[in-house]
């Protein structure tokens, strides 16, 4: 068959190959292009710009100045809120933005890994959102509902978070493995079920904070809280847990037999089956482990950043996780880097909203545009008139590394 080669690729692979044939320049240009379009959106919707545009032909400089002012002040505030605040009183204060960036990046790293791992096994894990929610629910419950000695309590709570996410991810993997049901559909549905389950639990005696009408849980006990270590920021130990998770994922993918199986299944399930690898078991395992990492992201949110459960505990993390994994090209190191970028965008956007009134949602626009541009290299190449690089088909990683 003529298009046989394209048919043999699994869901993730085609996209993965498109990603890896691009290169760093493409990533940077995509980010630049996305920020530019974000700037256009900021400028166009700015009342000052609209006001000056009304008399554009009599005094065009006014409009141009307003445009520059609008875009530059927004992005300057974003930088100050994400990296270094030069107006701060002391060096420690100046670095608070950086700590905020790391705080936002923490859950993204863990949840991004959940998507990245599944991706390497040829599965699209759209279910990070649900896995985060269930992980946070269990971790939170251990955190405020149980009474344990200090260090053990924290360890147990994080473990509960891992298990919660792992079970939720494992369900999707198991259904996929046993029945062949499309994992995308199953995980989307499980996301909604998880959100409703948490909403229900927060109405019960067991989870509801006493004397509170709003559906929020009690604060987690101090013995189960992830301690913060940077004055003036919410940055907490969860960062290191997430980095550990990244290290583990790297080891899993490049040093372990199981990771080898995952990648083999991801590259070609039929070849993997022929080689004696159980595709079904790999699907279940990778979703279990990945879900667990997303659960750790949930645990980090409830035990560190938020310190109580609410229906918005997962925010949009699950969807950010997908974009993070895509931007990080499904490698653990790339995922960490992409999480830092998106964490910085988030942290910066909060300051930007406070200082210039630019709505925080611009981050969503920029994030999704980045991923769209990265996904379609021909588009970005056309925009910047880049030379088409000889698209060397990605060397099959499995064979390449072992042979």
């Amino acid at each position: 068959m003529s298009e046989n080669s394209s048919n043999e690729l699994t869901v993730g692979q085609r996209f993965f190959r498109e990603l890896t044939t691009g290169g760093t320049a493409l990533t940077l240009l995509s980010i630049l292009l996305a920020m530019l379009i974000g700037a256009v959106l900021i400028v166009v919707s700015d009342p000052d710009v609209q006001a000056t545009a009304a008399y554009f032909f009599s005094r065009p400089t006014d409009t141009l100045l307003a445009i520059w002012e609008s875009a530059s002040s927004a992005y300057a505030a974003m930088f100050a809120g994400a990296v270094v605040d030069f107006d701060a009183a002391s060096v420690g204060d100046a670095l608070i933005p950086l700590a905020d960036t790391l705080t936002y990046a923490t859950p993204l790293i863990a949840a991004g890994l959940a998507v990245a791992l599944a991706f390497r096994a040829g599965l699209l894990n759209i279910g990070a959102q649900g896995q985060i929610i269930i992980g946070a629910t269990l971790a939170g419950f251990v955190g405020f509902g149980m009474d344990l000695p200090p260090v053990i309590h924290l360890g147990f709570a994080v473990l509960a978070g891992f298990l919660g996410g792992a079970i939720w991810g494992g369900i999707a993997g198991f259904i996929k493995a046993k029945t062949g049901a499309h994992e995308v559909i199953v995980t989307i549905m499980l996301n909604h079920i998880a959100a409703l389950l948490l909403a229900y639990l927060l109405t019960t005696q067991l989870f509801r904070r006493e004397g509170q009408a709003a559906p929020i849980s009690p604060f987690v006990a101090d013995s189960a809280a992830l301690p913060s270590f940077f004055e003036g920021s919410r940055l907490h130990l969860g960062l290191f847990v997430a980095l550990l998770a990244a290290g583990y994922s790297w080891w899993l993918l490049s040093r372990s037999t199981m990771g080898f199986r995952f990648k083999a299944v991801g590259h070609n399930p039929h070849a993997a089956t022929t080689a004696g690898i159980s595709v079904a078991r790999s699907y279940t395992a990778v979703m279990f482990i990945g879900g667990g990492l997303a659960g750790i992201a949930g645990a980090s949110q409830v035990l560190g950043t938020e310190s109580y459960l609410s229906t918005s505990i997962a925010g949009e993390l699950g969807f950010d996780a997908i974009t993070v994994a895509l931007l990080g090209r499904s490698s653990p190191i790339g995922t960490v880097a992409a999480s830092l970028l998106f964490g910085a965008l988030r942290a910066g956007a909060v300051t930007m909203q406070a200082q210039t009134g630019t709505p925080i949602d611009i981050v969503l626009v920029v994030q999704s545009l980045i991923v769209l541009f990265i996904a379609a290299p021909p588009l970005v190449r056309a925009v910047f008139r880049l030379k088409v690089r000889a698209a060397s088909p990605m060397a099959p990683e499995v064979g390449g590394k072992t042979a």
Partner: protein
Amino acid sequence: MRTAAAVTTRPEESTDAQPAVALTRHWRTPIMFGVFGLLAFVVFGLLPDGGRESTFGLSLRDDVIQLAPISVPSKLAAVLLALVCLGIAAYAAWQTYLSRTVPLWLSITFGVAFVLAFLTWAVAGSEISLTSALQGTLALSVPLIFGALCGMMGERTGVINIAIEGQLLFGAFLSGVAASLVGNLWVGLIAAPIAGLAVAWVLAVFTVRYFVNQIIVGVVLNVLVIGVTNFLHSRLLSPMKDTWNSPGRFPRLEIPLLSEIPVIGPVLFHQTVIVYIMYVVVVLAHIALFRTRWGLRVRAVGEHPEAADTAGIQVNSVRFRNVLLGGALAGLGGSYFTLGAVGLFSQEMTAGAGFIALAAMIMGRWTPIGAVFAALLFGFANNLQSVLGIIGSPIPSEFMLMAPYLLTIFAVAGLVGRIRPPAFNGQPYIKS
């Protein structure tokens, strides 16, 4: 292998396996019917105390023909309805034994009987208005039906559309803004499909032209639309509400005679123009997909693009056009949120309807009629919390809201009926 075969197995294999699949009997449907039937029999029929009555109001206050509310003994009615469910399960088992597939109408009848048994149990000892419950159901189902048709247009040609949510949301946004700026609701109604089309165009360019993974583009587009609409809402719609966000609503139109039919008349024929458009669209979609050359071509592209190509069909342009058509439908459905129901745009007002629409499309087995009934079922489950909220529901509302999602998982896992997506669903067609 039967479900989502396109992803796990090579299509060549799944087509080879067809004869084998046709010969094996699938006992999952009768078994699931039996389990749910027994559940209804025990929980709704046997367990509750007897001697209570469930009362259903059949007329609204301003109906022309007033019907007295009917009261039924809760226990007896639930037992009888559960027996109907079990009877259908037995008939399904007999059909399966004869190696016949269980027809769609049987599944629909089962669903209706089960839901009625549930209702008589839940309402035991008090009264609800059946008519207003149905009205609420239809109101919640309209965007779902448009969304499901949108997904169907794409998937029938092999393009998975996860961006239904984004298309609904953008349709809602643009229809509200356009109607508000111009001061004419009809302008909003024209803007809505254009908005959906715009989102669909991006989807089509990326997936059909650049062969980017369909699901990823869909997920990203949803986020993009949420970002853009939230941003513009905070920047323009919220501070300058009078100019940007005050479209108003379409009036409800009464169709003479038809709207006087008891119970269903006021539900079906006292609606806004968007709902009437929906009736037409559903019928047209059904005829077009299954009775015209166009439909045959569309289905051929989804089932076997290479054969379609050999027969002279431009596979990728059929896909491109269908994704656009679907987008226009979803955009139109989005206008129901702003111009039909609420009267203004609010942030993320579609609230996951696009995903329930996706579920409805799957449950409806990629057919317009099936999708309508699935959407009605999901709309009913969604609406139940407000109906039962007044008399106190025996089940927490969160669990009733879960029903569509749980059912869909059962469905794709092959537990409820045989569900088979178009064979080349989700696969790009790269002509060599």
